[in-house]
Symmetry: C2
Amino acid sequence: VLPSHVIRTVGEQLAKLPLNDALLVSCSKGIENYTLLRISEILKETLPDLSDERLVILSGPSHAEEVSRGIPTVLVAASTDYLSSQRVQQLFMGPNLRIYTSHDVVGVELGGSLKNVIAIAAGISDGVGCGDNTKAALMTRGMVEITRLGTALGADPITFAGLSGMGDLFVTCMSRHSRNRYLGRQIGKGRRLKTVLNKMIMVAEGVRTTQATIDLATKHHIVMPITQEVYQVLFEKKDPKAAVHDLMSRSPKAEDWG
Amino acid sequence: VLPSHVIRTVGEQLAKLPLNDALLVSCSKGIENYTLLRISEILKETLPDLSDERLVILSGPSHAEEVSRGIPTVLVAASTDYLSSQRVQQLFMGPNLRIYTSHDVVGVELGGSLKNVIAIAAGISDGVGCGDNTKAALMTRGMVEITRLGTALGADPITFAGLSGMGDLFVTCMSRHSRNRYLGRQIGKGRRLKTVLNKMIMVAEGVRTTQATIDLATKHHIVMPITQEVYQVLFEKKDPKAAVHDLMSRSPKAEDWG
């Protein structure tokens, strides 16, 4: 995860090079605040000559430290052009790295970004002292609302049940190394966002993504109750316990992705 | 999880009572070996007067010990009759128990049963010494093949991304209390199935479910590579490391639920 201005600088530098028909593989996650652009959209803005066919998104459950140690890892490579995603599959696949192709650039990019909001929610649940039942419910229902937003933005809903959605959320919520979950846990214990952020060396991208997700949900009229509670806890000093209570006592619903 | 002969005995006892139009709420999971019936199908066999409309499946991420301690828990109640699932929703909902309704009896029942096979796979991955990346990939791709089988059996594919599928798998794979994951971890460390089962007081239902899932996959011609490897490791003394290797080196594929 890189701040969007770094992505813009990289794009501007790349624009000066003779890229010819080289593929551009994006492994970055996030949504730019205010513009609400995905990384690939930022790259296309800074690289006007880059056609969709030459852009491939590589995403999925992959702690870098594990990849570097040769731990078996499985990713998804998405492009609007099947030949490009297949090219990346062929180039990157090896004994410890398996790649699936996907046509769903929007879904794969959004899955990897939006799940950070749910990772914060899972952390808050732990910090408050809720159990595995609560966390599993937040993760599942969180993915439902992300799927709803993603579908409105043009993604294929089933993509969020795949490696860049569920898969990435699994690894984020299981690992002790996740910055977003750490931040959530501190917030759940009653610390203030500013205090927690001041103590962290690396940025928890999910904080920025929560703001961007709320903006996207408002723009596209999508109901996202878990994201809304995370937002209020992070930015409006809402008591995390009250947030859990409010989620539990919403009106009865059907399990429904529509 | 109860062995199917217990379900049959319960059904036979219930058949002697004047049930009138009472609802029957099943909270049990599993697939009967040989007959390959779901719990609700066993109940209908032993209770011939029970109409589909009076049967409700209650499932989802719910360690009983957490429910009993009042930890916030979210479940799904499925029935072919919306009024029946809504009735269960009204009866069971409270400050710490939230219920969603579903029309997908087949999907909700299968999700809660089949995920135990994937929980064993996740345990084996841990036992072998693989990382969080590997486990997250197995969980995600495991749910893809379960979704494929479930769809062939009449379930709605998206149900497996819900509380009784993904949700229940989350809680099983996060908790240290899961018997299926414990069993998988022991197997992954090189212990033999018989030795591990002899040391366990409670049954790991996933062992039986693995056999039933393989039989269902064969009958319906569904490719289930992870379940197949779990089966070979459990019952055919395949080396768990070789199983991971064989999964990683399958031919390149698209991320695809079809």
